[in-house]
Symmetry: C4
């Protein structure tokens, strides 16, 4: 089974997730600039989640570039990842509309953790299919970014009850980590050519 | 006529169906954990429907891998299937928001029955076009999974009035049946190579 | 310029149009079967519009199979068609929620007329680019279906004020006309091979 | 890295943006023609934004036709553009629902400015990757359209406080500028062949 249709379907789901979050930006009835004030925290959490969905799309893109064949297990590992990502609009809106209250901010982190685990499971499912000597297995290597992110999310969840600003800063910091382009897979691809 | 555009359109529709269901998870106004309690049954019915749309996407994917040409009849059989699947967000929300009340749970089963029939009609339309000796006709064979699922749905509809938990358990059990990867078409494909 | 991306974008827009109409099926709060009664006219108008979007997708698919190159004019003629089709969810919901009241039913017809004109303009733009001796020009021929549909819509608009049931019957009849597979383009394609 | 998946994802996001704006056309409860009156300014701002998203899709399409390889920087420049475009439904609805009040009209222009800058950044990122002697660098040339549009948006923002009709007329005029097909890239492509 080729990866094209799996990629097309995932692209569709990610495109919808990233776009419907904007529906939570409720259009204000007033027309003063002050009317945008309650929209602002929702906008900020939208920006954070937009970056996260962008990162996942980006990594997903990289992952399937070094994947050639899809098994039933990979299909379901992929759907499992999409499931947790599909909860982003909900947790984003809950956190944003309540000005980063402790529990919504912790739940936001919980969904980040689950998505990170789901991504890890997907990566392992692909490596299991391709063999430990495959391009992907070599490229992923020790995957320190994924590990640090997970530690940051896990730290942010209890910290949300101390200060939700610290938790949000950790989410943002983990996102910025990923914005640094990942040279591992690109390098491995170049070597192959 | 090639199958590419039909697949792309179906992928789009399925991606939207699977994602807009999440819009029914109404963002709570309160910020305690207890505020998630009314969301929980909606989330559970969302998980069930997510699995079902995933199964249909998966099977659709397999089906069109062994299909080479599309006729007008196949196009409309496909749209007919998408129509019933597009009712999933409605029945999922109705069932979830009412804590699995009898009638919404039965209607949920009714839409599952109609989608199963539509899938069967689509399969037959493709076989009719390709001939009874085709790869698909051989691969599908007696199709016991489809038959058992249909029996389970039909049993669940009246049972929803006895206990909607029994009905839901049957829906879940039928879904899990499909999660077991279907070796028939994959086998047939391997033989051809 | 190739047609692939134009087709992919149109598929996306049509997939979203056909699916977001279902969001107008408001989930009832009650759990009796009677609670579905107000949903029924919305469901019926949804079915009608689902068929129409299906027809447009189908015809669009045929149209671009015999189109090889896209000009700026064709791009905008295509967007113009998508614009009118994007109003379907609005007119469908307005007609459905008001049990086929005269004015919403007439407006529904007006949007059908505009979409039909936009389709005609798109067809002409493609023929203008390809030349009057092209495959499409020969295939389309006198295009009686498009002409009859237009007459039916134009008749239905004033008739909506007499009886909106007559108007709806005309919309449905015009839709059924298109369900009959169109052998013209398929024939022309076969001849070429 | 190939451009196909980036184009598919962008097509998906643009298709959703252009379509969900229609959800802001709130279905009226009354059935007289007068009930459409409050919908009219929302419809007009929808038309304007529909044209803008169409222009961006069109230009995006042209841009990636002369792009062969995608780097991490281009991916993020593209997501940055999609972010600003994703705010169109919000600003469109706010402007439309308030009959072009001054501040929503100015904010609409602000998002147009940010989208124009994001497009410019994306263009530069691609040229930086391809070299100043590349096809795109030559085709884009002095890019007077982009410069005039930016001037028009920047003029419209303060003018919205004088008369929001002047501001809207400038937005419309800038859009019409882009409707004139851009012969630069098409010419450059022809020369290459």
């Amino acid at each position: 089974m080729k990866t094209t249709r799996l990629e097309a379907f995932s692209d569709g789901v990610l495109a919808i997730i990233i776009t419907i979050m904007v529906l939570e930006l409720k259009v204000p009835h007033a027309v003063e600039l002050a009317a945008l004030k309650p929209v602002l925290p929702v906008l900020l959490s939208y920006v954070l989640s937009f970056i996260y969905v962008g990162i996942y799309w980006n990594n997903h893109h990289h992952l399937f570039q070094v994947t050639e064949q899809v098994s039933g297990g990979i299909l379901w590992a992929n759907l499992h990842l999409l499931f947790w990502l599909s909860l982003f609009p909900f947790t984003t809106a809950w956190m944003g509309e309540n000005h980063l209250a402790a529990i919504p901010t912790a739940i936001y982190g919980f969904v980040l953790v689950m998505a990170a685990i789901a991504y890890y499971v997907l990566e392992r499912a692909i490596i299991a299919k391709q063999g430990r000597e495959s391009l992907l297995a070599l490229a992923v290597g020790k995957d320190w970014k994924a590990k640090i992110s997970l530690v940051l999310y896990l730290a942010a969840i209890p910290l949300a009850f101390v200060s939700s600003w610290i938790a949000s800063a950790l989410y943002l910091f983990a996102a910025l980590l990923w914005l640094i382009p990942d040279p591992r897979i690109e390098k491995a691809l170049k070597k192959r050519q």
